[in-house]
């Protein structure tokens, strides 16, 4: 992505924008007068406000960062972490869903099958990508890639950034539920290492269909949830305006999920979010993937499968008398 492009600020970043504007105006003036004390003070204040805003991000603010249109998308990561990249296409039964991308890359000399959900950057691309909402054909395309990886013993890395599986007429007619369910079941049975990285939005079943993995990693400002905050608010609070409350109640941030034992690692982002520094984000993601691949290499095929099944077998909170 072009670094020259200006970053679109989010609502809660507005105070910062105002401050930095003030600073640059004053700087111009003080250049003439030679008094730089006020500028220094303002700069200190700027740093203070910045720290306060970014350290105490609320869940709804993290959702906004996770959905930021300039955030790196799976294809950005894929192309940054490997020189080799051969994209593969199609579910072999009639469609190539643009919301799911996949193909072969190399990490440390090892061939890796990579699969991701992909959002578009503009209207035209979004026609093809359907805003990152896969159709059943997309999940069947992913399933084809899982089987391919299993056959040739390639580790699988998935990148997840989707609002969810597409809720449409055709999607229902082509059995969205079955496509997702099959991926859940088949991922559980693979004997190769599977690593899932939630990079932006982890939207419910549509995200889970690529995330039944030995290791589930999340970027610091990504979210992963059973339902969108807006959807939950509409059902339980009966108004979409309560999305902020719903976001907090649902526990959807990387930190929350780590504490619940659902994910294995939080990958750090630069202050403000990954969209401020694509290069750093890709580097952090690559390093983390490399570490986990190295660890999983120690396990035998059968152990990899059991490890994955046991991991999900343990999930849940209940009491028994």
């Amino acid at each position: 992505m072009k670094t020259k492009q200006e970053i679109i600020p989010l609502d809660f970043e507005k105070p910062l924008i105002a401050l930095s504007k003030q600073i640059s105006e004053l700087e111009e003036k003080t250049l003439k007068n030679g008094d730089s004390k006020i500028v220094g003070d303002l700069k200190n204040q700027y740093e203070k406000v910045k720290g306060q805003i970014y350290k105490n991000l609320s869940p709804i603010e993290r959702i906004k960062i996770a959905r930021h249109p300039q955030r790196p998308y799976p294809l950005d990561y894929i192309q940054a972490i490997s020189q080799t990249w051969y994209e593969l296409h199609g579910d072999r039964t009639g469609k190539d869903d643009g919301a799911i991308v996949g193909g072969l890359i190399e990490i440390d000399g090892q061939t890796v099958m990579v699969i991701g959900t992909q959002k578009g950057r503009d209207i035209k691309e979004n026609q093809k990508r359907n805003f990152g909402m896969p159709s059943p054909e997309g999940y069947r395309k992913a399933l084809r890639f899982f089987y391919h990886a299993e056959k040739f013993n390639f580790p699988i890395v998935t990148f997840i950034d989707t609002p969810g599986a597409y809720p449409g007429l055709e999607a229902e007619a082509h059995n969205q539920s079955h496509a997702i369910a099959m991926n859940l079941r088949e991922l559980a049975g693979l004997t190769v290492p599977v690593i899932a990285v939630v990079t932006g939005e982890g939207g419910s079943g549509g995200a889970l269909a690529l995330s039944v993995a030995n290791r589930v990693l999340m970027l610091e400002n990504s979210v992963y949830s059973v339902i969108s905050a807006e959807g939950c608010a509409a059902i339980l609070w009966r108004t979409k305006d309560k999305a902020s409350e719903a976001a907090s109640a649902l526990k959807i941030t990387a930190q929350d999920l780590y504490e619940l034992g659902v994910i294995d690692e939080i990958i750090p982002e630069v202050e403000g979010g990954a969209h401020y520094d694509h290069k750093q984000a890709c580097e952090n993601v690559l390093n983390s993937i490399k570490n986990h691949l190295r660890e999983l290499k120690e396990l035998s095929p059968e152990e990899l499968k059991t490890d994955r099944q046991e991991k999900f077998r343990r999930m849940g909170a209940f009491s028994s008398i």
Binding site: Y166, A171, A173, Q176, A188, V226, L260, M315, G316, F318
Partner: protein, 317 residues
């Protein structure tokens, strides 16, 4: 319930009410003949609005005799319908829900749970156990829609997994009857994980080459359809049952157009190649048991000397 009972019940309830208000202390208070849910004399059919005599409706498996509308069954009624009389032994009935997120919307989740237990008369949204169907053993689970919309939380996931593991251990066929609005939001991400949890255990069952029949009933949606409910070797639905991934309203909002009337009905799914059979309720037991018979001809039950139906109840689990 007959008319006589109905009037007797009304008198008893009146007396009980008076006693509760402190006015009828000299009245001898007997409990009503049955609770409110059962003592309704007439039921209005949800399909054709015809008034039906409740006891006759119940005798007809809660199917309307005029329009064949299949009214929702409770989990217990479902078990009674499919398992042989007296053969069902419930397992894991004491797995109870927690509140891992301290979830609170307009009401705290813990209060919702208590209310749900009261209204549905069930500890959670599923009953699981072992029984026989026309003298063949089976592991069976039925969901309770009355309990927070039959939503799948940690307990539902755990009970399905344990039942599946039991089916593997005893080499029995598995039958799951779903009726659910989807994953239970109040348990957040942990409810989503139940989809992966149930599907990954079903992978084991699949590899063990055991039969799993999934029965989809009105309504089955969301995370339940998109996990265990769609993974059956054979998928059966009841007539008119609505089954799908996303709800009708969500789809209409997304695509900005009205959906056809029969969209997401069992018949629509059958036409679109998504399920194997649509079977009226009165035939369900026999057809499921026949399907089990056809699949289990060559398999021998583990460590079994006497026919399952002759093993004493307590020794079956």
């Amino acid at each position: 319930m007959g008319l006589k009972d109905f009037f007797k019940n009304r008198q008893l309830k009146k007396a009980a009410k008076l006693a509760a208000n402190g006015n009828g202390h000299d009245l001898k208070v007997e409990p009503p003949v049955c609770d409110d849910q059962l003592c309704i004399l007439w039921t209005k059919c949800q399909g054709c609005n015809e008034l039906l005599y409740t006891s006759e409706l119940k005798k007809n498996y809660s199917v309307c005799k005029h329009c064949e509308y299949h009214h929702r069954l409770t989990a217990q009624e479902r078990i009674d319908l499919l398992a042989d009389y007296g053969s069902f032994l419930e397992i894991d009935e004491n797995i109870l829900p927690g509140d891992p997120l301290n979830f609170k919307d307009l009401k705290p989740y813990t209060v919702r749970l208590k209310d749900a237990q009261k209204t549905s008369n069930s500890k959670e949204a599923i009953i699981t156990g072992i029984g026989t169907i026309n003298n063949q053993p089976l592991a069976i689970g039925a969901m309770e829609f009355q309990y927070i919309g039959g939503s799948m939380g940690s307990v539902v996931g755990e009970k399905i997994v344990r039942l599946t593991e039991r089916a593997i251990e005893k080499r029995m066929p598995l039958v799951l009857v779903s009726s659910s609005g989807g994953a239970r939001m109040h348990e957040g991400i942990l409810s989503l994980m139940q989809m992966a949890k149930t599907a990954s255990t079903l992978k084991k069952l699949h590899e063990e080459k055991l039969l799993y029949i999934s029965l989809l009933t009105e309504p089955t949606f969301g995370g339940v359809t998109a996990s265990f409910a769609m993974l059956g070797d054979i998928l059966i639905a009841e007539p008119q049952a609505r089954i799908g991934f996303a709800g009708r309203r969500v789809i209409e909002e997304t695509i900005k157009q009205k959906l056809p009337k029969d969209f997401q009905t069992a018949e629509y799914l059958l036409e679109n190649g998504q399920i194997d059979l649509v079977i009226p309720r009165q035939n369900l037991k026999n057809i499921i048991s026949e399907l089990i018979r056809l699949h289990f001809k060559s398999t021998k039950l583990k460590d079994e000397v006497m026919p399952f139906s002759q093993i004493p109840l307590f020794a079956r689990i």
